[in-house]
Symmetry: C2
Subunit: 221 residues, 2 copies
């Protein structure tokens, strides 16, 4: 299936022209971002928790930050909403009203399940590390049994999802184009600075290429 089928909850209702349902678009956004916001309901109260994630084929794995609350919510089999947002720029218009942002976001709906199978958990942990820093898994010490047991991983099927994308310059009211106001886009991106070595690191160990040449944009699906 090349496209997600929009559902009542996943269809983009406001500004529907920004809606994208191609699987490739959704995966590309998920693969470039690396922090999601997980929404779940506990005793009627919504919680929105930022946490790491990774995608393996058609499954979104979510890291167990705040595991206790998330797991408590999940033990009731409730629905989750996982949102990933990448800000690409400020859209600066000639009127305050038409200011906007260029962005790419994905919303995934579904029921999460706790990953208990050890092989699947290892697959997810591998994906978490490689998602944040491709090439790193092979260089570091892998998880031992105790660490595997201590790690909570949730899986959300990538079955009901949609993306929302805005690109391009501002769209102003016709009359406002005559105003002598600078208008356009200010691109924004998550940029890496100089690596800061752990103070405990012995001299002579240099940062590897996956650290020195870090760039999240243009990830492959």
């Amino acid at each position: 299936m090349e496209r997600f089928t929009p559902t009542e909850r996943s269809a983009i209702k406001r500004l529907p022209q920004r809606g994208r349902y191609e699987r490739a678009t959704v995966k590309e956004i998920l693969d470039e971002g690396f922090v999601c916001h997980v929404g779940f309901v506990l005793d009627g109260q919504p919680f929105v928790i930022p946490t790491g994630y990774a995608r393996v084929e058609d499954v979104l794995y979510v890291h167990g930050a705040r595991a206790s609350r998330m797991l408590k919510a999940l033990s009731d089999g409730v629905q989750v909403c996982v949102t990933v947002t990448i800000v690409d720029g400020l859209v600066l218009a000639r009127s305050a009203f038409h200011h906007s942002m260029n962005y790419r976001s994905v919303v995934v709906f579904g029921r999460a399940r706790a990953v208990t199978d050890e092989a699947e958990k290892l697959t997810a942990l591998h994906a978490f590390t490689e998602h944040v820093a491709p090439g790193r898994w092979a260089e570091v010490r892998g998880p031992n049994r105790q660490e595997l047991n201590a790690t909570s991983v949730l899986a959300v099927p990538l079955a009901e999802a949609s993306a929302k994308v805005r690109v391009g310059p501002p769209v102003d009211d016709e009359a406002d184009y005559a105003l002598a106001v600078w208008a356009g886009e200010l691109p924004l991106r998550l940029a890496a600075g100089e690596p800061v070595a752990d103070p405990c690191l012995p001299a002579g160990i240099e940062p590897p290429p996956h650290v020195r040449e870090y760039d999240r944009a243009h990830r492959r699906v």
Copy 2:
């Protein structure tokens, strides 16, 4: 009051040493970020929607993207959870297990109200524009009556909130410090690129300082 009082839902339970309840810390994070994730419940289903926001004193104003769903949810007077996350860097450890991120996040709980008073709405719109690009409000055309009516603004009191902050190098298992693996922090920040002028912009209008020298870090509270 200098500190927020932790409540059952706002207290940081997982890794409580990362919890911060000082108002100044919470406001600083809110003032540096500019995209929040709003969580609300509709017919038992959690929704997490990214949108713009601004803070005015002890009120968080949220922009009305996806207004219909949010407003429908709010008409029932339900609780919202507004989360703002700033990623400061990757924490690259010697073991896969101890990989982490440096970040600052804020979670605000409360009931949102729709802003109907025109003066308050104008205050919020001013704050939205100035929050994204300080100095811009004075240069652009302000909202007219029709635009004011078309804009949905929600207010969430900054009364029940907490922050969570991680800084510093990785914390590895004692035995792993002997491994010949580069470890440390890779700082990340949202960086502005070269402004892209609207194709409709007449020649001779240059980007103002608030565009040319854009920098979100170190905002004043």
